[in-house]
Amino acid sequence: MIKKYLFVLRKPAYCGLYIQETVDIILTTAAFDQHISLLLLDEAVFHLKTNQQPQLAEKKQVSALLNALEIFDIKDIFLEAESLARYGLHTEDCDIPAKIINQVDVAEVIKHHDIVFSC
């Protein structure tokens, strides 16, 4: 059985172990050959910010984890335009290619998935 999974990330990068453990779930889902998308809202847009130095905070590089997703054919990464604007970020600040969507389109993205993980 194939279902469409959407992982909605809302917490900032390097907020405890949330992202590492969430990536564990995403990769496990990928191992089941499911269709996977990511939606980054609110402070989660910082996950893709370039030039971060997490080693100074004794953390693993999140963008390296997220970059690995492409190996598992996970290419649908959505970023909310309003969240980017709120934190003064632009697409060129992002490490990973992502599709920019507006807040009004978020409900539509969610509607197109069978399972939504809020992370």
Binding site: Y5, E21, T28, I115, F117
Partner: protein
């Protein structure tokens, strides 16, 4: 309807565990089924055998154990989230020189694969916390 549930927060950090419990109990009383309850992130602390709240406080761990026993529900604890936080299986406890595991009655360790299987086989998947 058949549900699978994930709980992400610890018993004393938020009300999510309480909300999950009452949702599950209500669903069962209305004739629905709960396939699996999966404890992830800090939710694994629900499974800690040695939680000892004062007598006049609710023991959420004990309540989960009773629920699992009464309704024959699997309480699954993510093993990697648990080991990271020091909640050990018997095997791991022995490796660390301990005599006992840390899991309360009714809980069992599981991998994330079982979580994904649960989301595939059930009608609804709900995350608390």
């Amino acid at each position: 309807m058949n549900f699978s549930i994930q709980i992400n927060t610890s018993p004393y950090h938020s009300n999510a565990g309480c909300h999950a419990y009452h949702f599950i109990l209500s669903a069962l009383q209305q004739g629905h089924t709960i396939a699996k309850i999966f404890f992830f992130h800090d939710g694994i602390y629900h499974a800690l055998k040695y939680t000892t709240p004062p007598d006049d406080e609710l023991s959420q761990t004990l309540r989960w154990s009773k629920l699992a026993n009464e309704f024959n529900i699997e309480l699954l604890v993510c093993i990697s989230a648990a080991q990271r936080r020091g909640l050990l299986s018997m095997n791991e406890a022995h490796k660390q020189g301990k005599n006992q595991d840390d899991l309360a009655s009714g809980f069992q360790f599981s991998g994330l694969g079982q979580l994904i299987e649960a989301t595939l086989m059930t009608d609804r998947f709900i995350i608390f916390g």
